[in-house]
Symmetry: C2
Subunit: 67 residues, 2 copies
């Protein structure tokens, strides 16, 4: 799964830490999502989508081949 987190965050001109605070998660979680180390839980995905005023599908790109 790919995502547009880094792109969207930079478009807002905020730091990882500020986004983390707004979403009530740790800075490491934001960094890990941006770098694709793991996928968000669905609750966090909803929070992120709401924060950016977009749908989950617009931010997270589902890719078949999973693993």
């Amino acid at each position: 799964m790919k995502n547009r987190l880094e792109e969207l965050r930079k478009a807002k001109g905020i730091r990882q830490e500020a986004l983390a605070d707004a979403l009530e998660v740790s800075r490491q979680t934001i960094g890990s999502l941006e770098n694709g180390r793991y996928n968000p839980s669905i609750m966090l995905a909803f929070k992120i989508a709401r924060y950016f005023g977009m749908s989950i599908e617009e931010i997270f790109i589902y890719e078949e081949e999973d693993k």
Copy 2:
């Protein structure tokens, strides 16, 4: 988080086991989601949405308060 899984599954007239097979998860996972015992991972949410031809937001209803 609430979801419309049971409603959508019944509208399709299929059993929990058939849905589980289609989504490549166990029957217990479907039952647990329908009864709200836990939330799906975002990968499973994407699979479910694709299976029903709907968006994640149309199937899973995000609710603030939770735990």
